[in-house]
Every structure is written in C-alpha cells, then in structure tokens.
C-alpha cells in the first residue's frame, strides 16, 4: 500500500466516524421529542385508523371491521358535507382577513413615532385569553340578544330595537360574532410576528430606494417592505390555515355546547364539532375517527396547495 492511499482510507474512516457520531448525537437529541410524539401521536393515530375501519359503538377496541363504510357513511351525510363547506368558506375568509388585518396593524404601529409600545400591548393582550373565556364574553355580554348586551346598547343609542346577534339566520349576524372573536384573539399574535420582521428590514434598503426616487408610500411598500416580509408571511399563512381548518372552540361555545342549547350549532357547524358530536355524544368512535382522517387529509391537501402557490419549502433541506 502506498502512503496516499492509507491517508485516504484514514480520512474515510475519520469521516465515517464523524458521520456515525453525528448520527448518534442527532438521534439522541431527538429521542425525547420523538418518543413523546410516538406515544401521543403515532400510536393514537394508528389506533384511530384501525377504529375508522371498525364498527366501534361505545367501544374503542377496533375489531369489528366494516371496511370503508364509516367513510362512505360520512361522505353521504349531508350534514357532514355541509360542515366541510362551512369550514371551507370560513377559512377562505378568515385567513386573508387575519393576514390583512395583522399586516395593517403591524405597518401602522411600526410607522407611528410615539406610543408604539402602548398599541402593541393593547393588540397583543387578547392572545392571553382562552377561546372559552372569549366566547363566554361574546355570547353572554358583548353580543347577547337582549337589551342588556353591549352591542345592543350601542344599537339602542341609534334608536333601534335589540338585534339577535346569534340565534337567527337572516341576517346571519352570527358570522360577525364568530369572526370578531377569532380576529380579536389572534391578530395580535400575527401582528407581533410582522412587527419583528419589519424591524429586521435593513434601513439601507429604504435609503437606497429614496435615492432612486421611490418615495411614495405605496411604491416602497410594494417593492421593498412586502418582499422583505415574505418569509414571515408564509409562516403566518401556514399557521393560520391550519388553525382555521381546526376551528372548534368559538363555534362550539357560542352556537352550542355547554351552557347553551344546541339548536344554533346547525347554522354553522365546523367539521371538528361534527366529529366531536359523533364520537363523544353518540359514542360512535369509528365514524369519529374516520371524520378526523378526512379533515386531516383536507388540511394536508390545502397546505400543499398553499405551499405550491407561495413557494413554501423551496429553501427546505439545506
């Protein structure tokens, strides 16, 4: 053997050793997280999948297999299809609305010379409130249908009769209630992400633009600010889309659920509420699991479509 060959072999061994070491480190760093995700995600998912193929009434033991009947039963139930339609419409509205609202808030708060911290705090604080508490305030105080509600007090100032904000379909004011609860709870958080991203835009970019004569607010926004916010925007849209598809709490707590009779939920029942009722009220765990998988498939599909459109993941795997 000649010397260079030995050196190459040595280097190869070293590299292999280093790879091995990195591999061991990698997996041991990930171990706690992966173990938890296996225990509380993977096993329940496999279990749930088996259930979705079973007739599992009042039991969570898969075994009475009935093929895809849970899936076909769901997809031929007009109320389930209705719920998919409901969440689609809701998502198509709430995602752009949240995006535009939080972006506008961030730009406005960012641009004012004084009082930044105050406004930032005020818009961010609702993030601390739970959906349950927010729904309670909306249903029982802000938007209650009697004259004692806050919104109806304002309406009364203009000499109008109290409005049924929640219980009626014509006009469907309940959408206003649902949307404002969600916006109130989440725009502050996304505003903070935008604000952070805004602070990271190098000033030199604006100065260069000013030198080039680009002074109009719109031009700067269109050609400098927005492109620089691209990564933040993509994250926000992704998180927001997933959150919108999984909407449950405000629908459940405002239109039905604990503390109110259930007839209003039929006005706008998102799929997770449908599944909750099937699994936990009717205790048909097979059909409940099947519904869960249908929703998951939809979320994955929409995330992929959105990712394609916005180019999310193009920088992945570096």
């Amino acid at each position: 053997m000649n010397a260079p060959a030995t050196a190459t072999a040595q280097r190869k061994t070293q590299a292999m050793h280093k790879n091995l070491q990195a591999g061991i480190c990698f997996w041991s760093f990930l171990m706690p997280a992966l173990a938890g995700l296996v225990l509380f995600m993977a096993i329940p998912m496999v279990w749930g999948f088996l259930l979705s193929l079973s007739h599992a009434q009042n039991t969570i033991h898969p075994g009475h297999f009935i093929g895809a009947r849970n899936y076909t039963d769901l997809l031929t139930d007009p109320e389930f299809l209705n719920s998919l339609w409901t969440i689609l419409v809701f998502t198509l509205f709430i995602v752009p609305a949240t995006f535009a609202f939080s972006l506008w808030l961030a730009l406005a708060v960012h641009s004012i010379p004084k009082g930044k911290a105050f406004f930032r705090t005020v818009f961010f604080i609702p993030t601390a409130v739970s959906y349950a508490a927010a729904s309670l305030i909306a249903r029982m105080s802000f938007f209650s249908g009697t004259a004692s509600g806050f919104a109806n007090h304002l309406v009364g100032l203009f000499g109008m009769q109290p409005v049924q904000w929640i219980g009626t379909a014509s006009p469907p004011w309940y959408w206003l209630v649902l949307v404002s609860v969600r916006l109130w709870l989440q725009v502050g958080f996304y505003m903070i992400i935008f604000l952070a991203a805004l602070q990271e835009i190098p000033r030199s970019l604006y100065e260069a633009a000013a030198l080039d004569g680009a002074t109009g607010g719109w031009t700067v926004l269109r050609f400098i600010t927005l492109p620089q916010l691209r990564n933040a925007s993509v994250s926000i849209l992704l998180l927001n889309l997933i959150a919108a598809f999984q909407a449950f709490d405000e629908f459940y707590n405002i239109l039905g659920g604990s503390g109110s009779s259930g007839g209003n939920i039929g006005l706008a029942r998102p799929p997770l509420v449908y599944i909750y009722n099937v699994a936990l009220s009717s205790q048909d765990f097979g059909r409940g699991a099947a519904g869960g998988f249908i929703i998951t498939a939809l979320i994955v599909l929409f995330t992929l479509v959105q990712g394609r459109l916005l180019g999310f993941g193009s920088k992945e795997g570096r």
Binding site: P78, M140, T146, G149, S258, S282
Partner: protein, 422 residues
Amino acid sequence: MATPMLTTPVTRRQMLKTFVFAGGALLSGCARSDYIDGKLVLTQWYHQYGEKGTFQAVHRYAREYTRVNPHIIVKVVWIPGDYGTKLATALLTPDGPDVFESTLTQAMVEAGQTAPLNDLFTSQDLADFNPRDIALNSVNGKIYGVKMIDDLGLLYYRKSMLQSAGMQPPATLDELMTLAAKLTTPQRKGLFLGNDGGITAMLNVLPWSAGADFLVNSQIVFNTPRTVLAYQKLQQLNQGGSLLMGAASDWWDPSAFTSGQAAMQWCGMWAYPAIARAVGSDLGAVIWPPLDAQGVPVTFLGGWTAMVNANRPHVEEAKKFLQWQWIQNRAIQTDWCVGYGFHVPPRLSLARTTPKLQQPVPAYAVNMLGKYGKATPPLWNAAMGSDLTNAVTNIVKLGQPAAQQVAAAADMCNRELQRELE
C-alpha cells in the same frame, strides 16, 4: 410517512415511559387503588347539580353508607362541565366509576357497560316505582338503571299579566302564540323557549303535542304530517317576533323569566323554588298545550338514572350500594328530590306523600307527569337526535320545506337504527 417514527426502537419508548413515570411520582400522581386501610373503595360519579347544598349532600350520603357498612368507602366524584363526554370516555377504560348517573341507551347495554339490576328490586319495589321509569331503563326485559329523580317541563306565567291581557292560560298552541304576541312589549318578549328558538327544548315536545312520536317498537315513526305541522308551527313562532333569544342563560335556567326579560318561559319543575321565591302567588304554570283539537297536552319525563359499571371488579358491592341508596333509602330519595332543587321522586308513594310537593303548582305537575309525561326509548340515540335537530334547524332557521326535511331526517335515523340493530 409515519414509518420512521414507528420503527423507533422499543427501548426508547420504554425509556420515555420510565421518564414519564418518574416525573409522575415526583408530581404526586395518585394511582387508583381498590382498597384503603383494608376498606373497599367504590367510586360514584355525579354530574354537577346547580343547586346549593347538593355537593355536600352527596358526600353526606356516602359517609352514611360507610357508617352502616364500615368495610366500604364511597368516593364521590363531582363532575362539572361536559359530564357526558367525561363519562363516555371513562366508561371505555378499566378506570371508570363503579356507580354513575346517566341516561340509559341500548348501545351502553350492548357494549356491556352497565350491569343488570333486576335482583335488586323486590316485587313491592317494582310496583312502587313509576312504571314508565322502569320501562325506560329496561332492555330486553332486564333493568339496567334506577331512576334517582324525575323531571318535567312547565310553562311558567304570571297570572296578573294574563289578566291584564284579558286571556286565559293557553289551551292550544295557537292560543299560546296569540298570548305570546300580546305579552310582547319593547322591553320584554312574550315567551322564552331557549336561545335557539326552542329547537332543542321543543324538538320532542311539539310533535308529541300533535300526537306524533319518534321511535316505537323499533320503528322510526315520526315521518308524518303531524310532525311536519308541529315544526312548521315552531317556525311561525320563531318568525313572529315574540320569542326571546340571546338571553344570558338558557331555557333550563329561570333567569329570563324571573328578571322579566320574558313574560312566559318553558322551564323545568326543578326551577320552581327559585321562580316561586321571585314571583310569589302571582305564579301560574301549565304543561305544554295540545297543538290543536287533535293534539294532546304533554310534558317531558326527564331526570337522572343511577347505574352500575359492569367492567369494574366489584360489581356486586356496587349493586348493593346502589340498592341501599336509590331503592331502599327513602329518606335519601326524598332529600335528594326536594331538599335542594325540586324534582319528583320516582317512587309513586313518595311522590304522593312528600309535603313540599303538595303546594298547588307541584301537585299539579306531579299529576300531569303521571298522565302526560313522555320520553324517548333507550334505542333512540344521540345520533338520531342530532339528525332530527339538524332538520329542525333547517326548517326553523333557514326556512327550508318542512316535509322534505322531516323525511330526510327519517331516512338518516333509519340508517342509524340499522347500524344500532346490526
């Protein structure tokens, strides 16, 4: 895509378990044990009753049982929030309660969740319990539950308001609708049936008042013109502008009536003490009036039922305890029915003799419950209820054609029934 996670070596899973257990020990996790100091521990679940004193009462009953049976401790678990969800999930595991309250469904029996209780009743007991309660808790001739309380609905009104409107208590639904409209003022609505416009509260009551029914002899029977008419009337009522909606509390809570937001309210007899306190002798109440000349007056027969979990190791002891509390111990049954809230004891002899039930309104209510109380059978399940509710929401709120919706709901319910009977 989940493959990499599934092939994670078992040892890691084990290690995590150890880790979680170690953490658990640190956090003073108290694992369930059947015995404390050599005494058998039975767990008994209640949903959260709203009335003051109920929480203390159930603990007192439990202590009393230990006094007469020193080798047994009854641990009471009081559950707020979504009791149904919590009970349903707990019954799926070996860790569920020994004795619990719920409403019997045939699916519970078929899944083997509840133990048969026939041997707990003597023939005198059987004769003394409201026969409808016994029937509602029987599946294929076996009794699976003992009714703890009977509830019914009442339409509460103020006599003085009716007088000044020149009206009598309503004898038909049309009279009630006229009355509700007459009693509506800018500050007050005529009638409160719940924040969903009565969809939940009237779901069964209105068709019953038309003479219709839902599930009889394992057949879905509600797809009739009478049911359709009943729901059409509910839609008219919703459009009439005399229904209160959007109140802070719902139909089962008397606040809307006692605070004057509504002139009349459909509520349970359980609210009678609070309403009587607020309204005094001006109070009047009737059960739901017949839909029309072909209809019948009606009220729901509700309440709670005690059952024994068949999947626990000490079924016999649990049955003995349930027998002591809800069959033999008349003092507890009376205390529980009228000591805090206001319910009818399922034992006919107690319902007849309890002094608090002799006042005019409760005496009327007990009488009406015996004559006109109705309930859905154990085979009628939540899925069917939900199919029907959807249809009624579509009729009442969205103005869709009633006949078509009722027929569609009947189809869905038949599908559920087939699943159930498979």
